[in-house]
């Protein structure tokens, strides 16, 4: 938080976060009004229900944390779906004590490959990660023979994903840990400064002596790692890995990062915003499912909300020179 001037003004990065937070409150109020009128109860305000929603949101939140690092350096990672799935499938295939390390290693390895391709081959990330996604899909199809894998998640994976400690879902602790790491990187480490610098102008960062390629590789590696963590957790949550388990996480993770005020072209944005963005999307989804909204209406509302939020605070500057 920057020092507040005498007049209470919000910095450019904080305004989106505040508005998004207000929107979350609005969703909660609207959803509660609906349930109160229809069922005479207010499940949205019960801590248990909220914790349960946050547990589901943890998977998206972990993916979004990695995605944010990549978006901050004005790149994008489209390989999330099959990185996540590959990590989950490999983890369940290996099983035993090595399940989780193997899952994370798969994610990390894919991330490093993405980073090397983008940083050293200078292929636009949009297309390189797309290619890597296709390769991972091919590898997994060849590995599973096109069928759902028969292997099950290990006990530890299940416990991490759906167990509780002190009444709080374990998945939330994992999300918290990932969040802490990202916040420390962005706020307290030179690496964070480099990330923002590259996002603003890579050439300038390079001239200032930043190893921009190294930082790019690190960001992609961390993004792959978070996808691996999410994959391992998701496999634990649903007891097994399955085809297409990563598909619902790509676009929502980008949306969560952007709704949270991170600029899609990089260089600007706070991690708190991404957290708020994830919570907003998860709550919106759960309110819509309470309302028994059909999938069609959900998609329309989902798209409408993203546009509305960005119209309020995500508008770019006019090009005039």
């Amino acid at each position: 938080m920057t020092a507040l001037p005498a007049r209470l003004t919000l910095s450019r990065d904080d305004r989106p976060i505040l508005i998004a937070a207000c929107f979350i409150v609005a969703i909660l109020i609207a959803g509660t009004a609906y349930t109160w009128q229809r069922f005479g109860s207010a499940p949205l305000l019960s801590p248990n229900y909220l914790l349960q929603q946050l547990q589901i949101g943890a998977f998206l939140g972990i993916v979004a944390a990695g995605m944010m690092l990549v978006i901050l350096i004005s790149q994008i990672d489209l390989s999330i779906p099959w990185t996540l799935t590959a990590a989950a499938m490999m983890a369940t295939a290996v099983g035993g004590a090595w399940a989780i390390p193997v899952g994370l290693a798969v994610g990390l390895a894919v991330g490093v490959i993405n980073g090397l391709g983008v940083a050293y081959l200078r292929v636009p990330s949009m297309i390189f990660t797309l290619g890597v996604n296709a390769v991972m899909r091919g590898l997994m199809v060849a590995h599973t023979g096109g069928y759902a894998p028969q292997t099950a998640a290990t006990g530890l994976m299940r416990n991490l994903a759906s167990g509780h400690s002190f009444g709080v879902p374990n998945a939330l602790f994992v999300w918290l840990a990932v969040s802490l790491v990202v916040v420390v990187i962005l706020q307290r480490m030179a690496l964070g400064r480099y990330i923002y610098a590259i996002g603003n102008k890579e050439a300038a960062a390079y001239l200032a002596g930043v190893d921009t390629r190294g930082v790019t590789v690190i960001c992609f590696a961390l993004c792959g790692l978070t996808a691996g963590i999410a994959g391992v957790l998701l496999a634990g949550y649903s007891q097994k890995a399955y085809q297409g388990m990563g598909d619902p996480y790509l676009l929502p993770s980008i949306a969560a990062v952007v709704i949270g005020g991170t600029h899609i072209l990089g260089g600007r944005g706070r991690y708190l915003g991404t957290l708020i963005g994830v919570i907003l999307i998860v709550l919106l989804n759960s309110v819509l499912s309470i309302m028994e909204m059909p999938e069609a209406g959900r998609q329309v509302i989902y798209g409408g909300v993203i546009i509305l939020m960005l119209l309020v605070y995500g508008r770019g500057e006019r090009v005039t020179s």
């Binding site: 636009p124 921009t212 069609a296 329309v300 989902y302 993203i306 770019g316 090009v319 005039t320």
Partner: protein
């Protein structure tokens, strides 16, 4: 003159590479195919490639101005679902109504027969163009980055598609399906022109697949005039340097809106053909996503830079052809189908990494950061 040619060659190097690559692998394919160089094989290839080629053209226009349209697959799917209602060709006409939130709004009746099909086609194309216009308006007046604006509108279009077709279904006129997805000879005999396709002068053309003819017509009648217009050149200028284009007095807003509208029109052509080909409408979300991603790949393979300013929609057609060709090869060489996605991925990755060769040529590392 020679200089001029050299410059043109250099400017179109990526496109010419794609063209040569396509020529070589397509010739290989036809030679290896047991029924190679026959009309039937061409027709099959044309049908399989048309929709992706149109979606790739749709993607090209925003990419030329350094934007990206993540809604092309969704837009295509939405038009596909509209077409499954509007092109049924029922003789007694098709009553149209909107059931929303318990209300039943009658929208009149679409006439039957040829008039109805013609009107339905026009409505579908207009819907696509309007959706593209919406994308453009949000990007220009909302000043939201294209990639994120179209991510959101894509969700909206898929929502509308799901509303129209919660389950796959609908029907397309059988004659229309037959006429559009076969050779020109079948087209002529279905619509009863050129003496039912038996006219002597028509015989040399009768083998040509209709989808290829449609592709060429759309490219020549829509894309080429657009590219040569001031608006089209403005699109290229925006991709090269938006600020410079603005300072040169070009109407940037109009060009951006026109580019997205044209993209919507192209995607609508693709959706229309997909509906005609499959004779139904299907709001398939994974399929829409796959089309969007494959369109980006086709654009890049076809020689258009994702940074904007160079390339063109014709190249993207060949990009789509090359991408689809991979699966053609799998059919004739009898490779285990399970390996197909892996090969597709590796070839895609290799194709886009070829562009990395320029890294070896830079003399100053700063040149990399553009």
């Amino acid at each position: 003159m020679a200089d001029n040619l050299a410059i043109r060659l250099r400017q179109n190097f990526a496109f010419l590479t794609a063209l040569a690559l396509f020529g070589v692998i397509y010739a290989l394919y036809q030679v290896a195919h047991p029924k190679g160089f026959s009309s039937a094989v061409l027709v099959q290839n044309g049908n399989e490639v048309f929709t992706l080629a149109m979606v790739a053209m749709a993607q090209t226009v925003p990419v030329l101005m350094a934007g990206l349209d993540l809604s092309v697959g969704a837009l295509m799917t939405m038009v596909d679902c509209f077409a499954s209602y509007l092109l049924s060709g029922a003789a007694e006409g098709t009553p149209l109504a909107l059931d929303v939130a318990g209300l039943h709004l009658a929208l009149g009746t679409l006439p039957g027969g040829i008039a109805g099909i013609g009107l339905g086609t026009v409505i579908c194309l207009v819907i696509g163009a309007l959706a593209g216009l919406l994308n453009g308006a949000i990007v220009v007046y909302g000043r939201i980055q294209p990639i994120i604006a179209t991510l959101a509108t894509g969700a909206i279009y898929i929502g509308i598609a799901l509303f129209l077709r919660p389950q796959p279904g609908g029907k397309i006129d059988d004659d229309l399906n037959w006429a559009m997805t076969n050779s020109l000879g079948d087209f002529a005999s279905t619509v009863h022109i050129f003496n039912d396709g038996a006219a002597p002068w028509f015989a040399p053309f009768a083998w040509i697949p209709t989808p290829f003819v449609l592709l060429v017509l759309i490219a020549l009648l829509v894309w080429v005039p657009f590219r040569r217009s001031v608006t089209g050149r403005t699109v290229y200028a925006i991709g090269s340097a938006e600020g410079a284009a603005y300072m040169s007095g070009l109407d940037i807003n109009r060009a951006k809106i026109a580019a997205f509208t044209l993209g919507g029109f192209f995607a609508a052509c693709g959706g229309l053909f997909l509906a005609i080909q499959t004779s139904s409408g299907n709001a398939d979300i994974p399929q829409a996503g796959a089309y969007t991603l494959n369109s980006i790949a086709s654009v890049v393979i076809g020689g258009t830079s994702l940074l904007g300013g160079t390339g063109g929609a014709i190249g993207s057609i060949f990009g789509a052809l090359i991408l689809r060709m991979i699966s053609f090869f799998f059919r004739i060489f009898d490779i285990a189908p399970l390996l197909q996605p892996l090969f597709e991925g590796i070839i895609l990755l290799a194709a886009v990494s070829i562009g990395a060769l320029r890294v070896l040529r830079v003399r100053n590392t700063l040149e990399l950061f553009r």
